[in-house]
Assembly symmetry: C2
Homo-oligomer: 104 residues x 2
DNA sequence: AGAACAGATAAGCATGTACTTATGTGATTC
DNA sequence: GAATCACATAAGTACATGCTTATCTGTTCT
């Protein structure tokens, strides 16, 4: 069940920070470390977890490995969230805006 | 940062099962245990975590405590997710449907 | 081929987490 | 008011997790 791995992956604040950074644009593991106080192996391990959850995907580029957000994982979160739409408060205007964006 | 507590709360499959059960309708802690093989203290602890994350709220009713989904937590997940809308694949039709619902 | 570099993997360790049993607290019933 | 019930809290334990240092793999450059 990958849903489990997604939530487990996002449960760690460091991993959410990495993911957020990647959302601004794909980059390699070394570039990702800049600004985040983290060792090389730790970053590698976090990326492996994010990758296993389908939140991130990698692509070898020479001796670098470029990482980028994988929409797959986000889609699964969206699906999970959609199950509980009956409870979303009407005041979440952000989501309405979002829907309009998607309808274009 | 409650965002952290939300994802940590949902990282546990038992807690997600509890939350899902509550989404079908509010009920007390004993009723929640039915069908889920879990001890009374464990259930109580899980509910405390879900409550701390803003995913669930409680209401004393005599010697029972009724639990129900708290939209607050779901709203925060939606907000988190909305930050990455640029990456949502267009094929998530479910969300479009959902937006139409909200526009009504 | 060998040095240098980007990154992954291995192994060990300290802390966190989910459970257990035991007990405490508040409300109801007899 | 004493027993009972619904639930919370305490304390202990086994396992998971995130880190560390050390080492390995794969690629580039001279």
């Amino acid at each position: 069940m990958i849903e489990n791995e997604i939530f487990r992956a996002l449960a760690d604040p460091t991993r959410r920070a990495i993911f957020e950074k990647l959302a601004a644009g794909g980059m390699n593991a070394s570039a990702l470390r800049e600004g985040i106080d983290i060792s090389q192996p730790a970053m590698s391990q976090h990326l492996a977890v994010l990758r296993g959850a389908g939140l991130v995907r990698e692509e070898r580029q020479g001796r670098f490995v470029n990482y980028e957000v994988d929409p797959e994982g986000l889609a699964l979160i969206a699906q999970w969230l959609a199950k509980y739409r009956a409870y979303w408060p009407a005041r979440i205007e952000a989501l309405k805006v979002l829907l309009k964006d998607m309808d274009q």
